[in-house]
Amino acid sequence: MTASEHILVEGLSKTFPHRGQPLEALRGLDLRVGWGEFVSVIGPSGCGKSTLLRIVGGLLEPTAGRVRIGGRAPRDAQKAKDIGLVFQDPSLLPWRTVLGNVRLPLEVNHTDSHRPRFQPRELLELVGLSAFADYHPHQLSGGMQQRVAIARALVFEPSLLLMDEPFGALDEITRSTMRYELLRIWQSTRSDRPKTVLFVTHSIAEAIALSDRVAVLTPRPGHVRAVIDIDLPRPRDESLERSTEFLDYAQQLRNLLKEAPQ
């Protein structure tokens, strides 16, 4: 754990075989994310944002390039339970209770060597669902299901959280509430060991409100067009979105995205 960056991505390329016509999703992507940083990746649809996240998470192998998570290969970081994943679809198991879903990772990896500091019930309290531990996913709203998915991702206390448009399927109002919920959760788990978050989104407001830095990707084949530092004070709340600085950042990002020929 001596690497200076938490995530190091160098010259990353990924080509999918696609019926004789290979699909080039990423080409020569470079990205560095520091320890405890909140970085959003934003870009037009189909620019390979999710592919990048899956490679960083060790779910996909790159075609070329190098990815290091705290100096280790993604698969090794995954093996060490140092990566938490949240997808757009909460993908909860419908036959399990909320608590059962959060416990699932512990059941799959029942090693005595790893003693989680947060018990599943405490994690539910953290995401504000302690009263719903015995409910089943279909009894919860979309936003609540996504909270369960976040709690599930935190079970092993990973130092890195990878989120792929986690609020993409939610309605606008729930979505903006969840934004600051996530910041609250992130802040309350960061007191002792700051968690790094890599957050894929196509919402400009979401990216600014959450992030320390925003990486803007080009259209496919995706690479990083620009990285914008978001110098807004924390803790942040919804009033931030009406500030002039926020609107300036939004304009800046919109211009960067517009440059992308569609």
Partner: protein
């Protein structure tokens, strides 16, 4: 920690399903209408056979059939238990073999390509044609009936189990894989629960089929059972006994089907088809 909304004000609060009230309403809603329809049908049948003086050898009135049953209820129920036992044993055997084969085929396309055509061969071969052969092999005891019931229940379980084991939510699969779950864990924690709705569908198809299988096998090699009762009653032109035996089979089928639906509702409470409606 709870100074933020747990649940937006416009979201409904999930209620516990009203138990006793619900049971009463279920009886009123689902049991009474078909019972009334059946009663009306039987009344017409009774009136018709008496008014037209239809021969009891052709169509006995329901009252005569009920009389025949009440003459020897122990006999009919005993024979019925025999047939039911054969059918359920065959169903269990067929389902076990089918599910084991489906596990193999769901994991290996090669195994599926090799074995599935054989399964279709079993399915398209009329079970009535095979029954005499089974009598030659297994004699007149329990086993030819169990085998026919097993053969006939095999295919619905096979097809549904293959689809079921494969119908896992891709997101859940990706998540469980990211946890580096073993294939056994993926199977037990993901594939089996995902397959349950399909297995219940198979059970609902195969239960009546297994009864058919047992009865048909009893025609060929009956030493007891309702199939034999029907066969001998037919031979003797004892139509009321024939009808009584058919009625016992029908009631058995309905009871099995209802029991399956009730268990299914309990087990699959999480499935779209069975969630509590507002």
């Amino acid at each position: 920690m709870t100074d933020f909304p747990l649940r937006e004000p416009w979201e409904p609060t999930p209620l516990a399903p009203p138990r006793w009230n619900g049971a009463l309403r279920a009886i009123a809603g689902y049991v009474l209408p078909p019972a009334a329809a059946l009663a009306i049908g039987l009344t017409f049948w009774e009136v018709w056979t008496r008014a037209r003086d239809i021969s009891i050898l052709l169509v006995p009135p329901p009252s005569r059939v009920i009389d025949r049953f009440l003459d020897r209820p122990g006999f009919f129920l005993g024979e019925g238990m025999t047939t039911l036992y054969e059918a359920l044993l065959g169903l269990a055997l067929g389902a076990t073999v089918a599910i084991a084969a489906a596990v193999l085929m769901a994991h290996s396309r090669l195994a599926e390509r090799a074995l599935f055509p054989l399964a279709i061969l079993v399915k398209v071969t009329p079970v009535v044609a095979v029954a005499p052969l089974l009598v030659i092999w297994f004699g007149f005891g329990l086993w030819p009936k169990v085998c026919v019931a097993a053969l006939i229940s095999f295919f619905p379980f096979l097809v549904n189990a293959i689809t079921g084991f494969r119908s896992v939510n891709p997101g859940a699969m990706e998540f469980v894989r990211s946890l580096r779950a073993s294939p056994l864990q993926v199977f037990l924690k993901l594939r089996v629960p995902s397959a349950l709705p399909y297995l219940f569908a198979a059970l609902k198809v195969s239960l009546p089929l297994s009864l058919i299988g047992a009865v048909v096998a009893e025609w060929f090699s009956g030493d007891k059972g309702l199939g034999l009762v029907i066969f001998t009653a037919n031979y003797r032109l004892d139509t009321p006994t024939l009808f009584a035996a058919i009625a016992v089979l029908a009631v058995t089928g309905v009871a099995l089907n209802t029991a399956t639906s009730l268990v299914e509702r309990r087990v699959l409470f999480w499935h779209e088809a069975f969630r509590e409606q507002d």
